[in-house]
Symmetry: C2
Subunit: 230 residues, 2 copies
Amino acid sequence: MARVETRQRRRRDPEGTRLAILEAAKTILSQDGAEGLSVSGVAKLAGVNRGTAYQHFELKEDLVRATLDWVSSQLLEAVFTEDLAPPEPAVEVEVDIDDMASRMASFSLRLAEFAMDHPDIGRIWLYDVLSRPNPREDVFYERFAHSVEDLVRGGAGQEGIDVEVLAVLMLSGFFLWPVWVGSHARSKRARKAMAQRFAAEVLRLSMHGVVRADTHAQLQSYLREKLPDA
Amino acid sequence: MARVETRQRRRRDPEGTRLAILEAAKTILSQDGAEGLSVSGVAKLAGVNRGTAYQHFELKEDLVRATLDWVSSQLLEAVFTEDLAPPEPAVEVEVDIDDMASRMASFSLRLAEFAMDHPDIGRIWLYDVLSRPNPREDVFYERFAHSVEDLVRGGAGQEGIDVEVLAVLMLSGFFLWPVWVGSHARSKRARKAMAQRFAAEVLRLSMHGVVRADTHAQLQSYLREKLPDA
DNA sequence: CCGTTAATCAACAGCATTGTCAATTAAGGG
DNA sequence: CCCTTAATTGACAATGCTGTTGATTAACGG
């Protein structure tokens, strides 16, 4: 038996190998979630020996963490594209309303589309980030929360916004919406439509809230009564 | 060798055993998440032989599903307590604004507190529900979404609300907020305060939205331009 | 009191995964 | 061209979990 199809030993390329592993890990995370990820599976998909994976990432946990950090930077690129100015060092300027509106709208749509195009992995990333002692250490989370702060301080935002709560609430929605969509829309067209649908509701909510103004007085008093130190 | 401390065979009590297993599963889900749940661990915590667990729940998957359904009904009880009227058969009545306001506020707080008191398990439940072909089959999800619909149809809600999106967005926030809180507040007092904080922001958001009215026109046009059929 | 049912348990086989290690060998520098 | 470095690999031991099965034996009805 001549070994016709014997697998060649992989050409050495540490950097490339590392990327291949990360890419494979990202794919598996996207498909099977964090629970379903095994180093064996990742290595097989990356076309790499399992031992090699352990050479690049000491522990399975390190592999997952590195993958999520990588995803975070991709998220940053995909959502905050170059047409958006880099974060200005906290200067108190009055914000251009037109710019603010278009930023919010396009941002919302981009984020929704990214979440829809990378089901599961966004959710896993979010959970991981929120679990950290300081979520702000994550590049995307920091940028996102910072944007909300800018909105508030710039004067375009409503008064009394709890930035941290709002950030968590919004991000959670963006990344769990694809889960609901999952079984409802399989075609690319349908998924894109679902991203638009979510983005539209977020914008509507940002503008008008949920309840009509009539109920405001009642809710206000209830807030003061039941939630004293909120 | 007298067998001094030999474990007695468990007194037969199928119903009680089943409950003990469910309780243990709920605890483990709350601590280690769905990934960390093993039938071995559940059985050990419940003080039951692993085989017994398999007698009550054919497959591990069945055990998890049964536990989550059980949690869902507990959630229903905890949040929609008796002071709230049972769901009326879709009659188109003008809603009492006062009642609506107090319902929303107390509901919001109760849900936030439940989520905070049962970290992880709520999140796992939500993910499971959203993954199903028809989330409405879950008792709590159905009830929640139904409430939002009532709000909209009753006339107290803003126009153009996308009920399904709003429901997913809100639920996601409620159940992921405890993750962010996790490392920030350990004492019971602090956790309760965090629940109030979230509930307050939800109510504020429901009333006023995120952005000031100035930006509405811009966002509206952007909506029509970029999101044609949303 | 006896016989049936089924709740409980211990043990088994199979499988996947994890982390480690020593051997191979490609790459690069002197 | 040789020698060192380290990237890559296959193999190993340990672990934990799953689902199954056959043996106990408590509960219960006739």
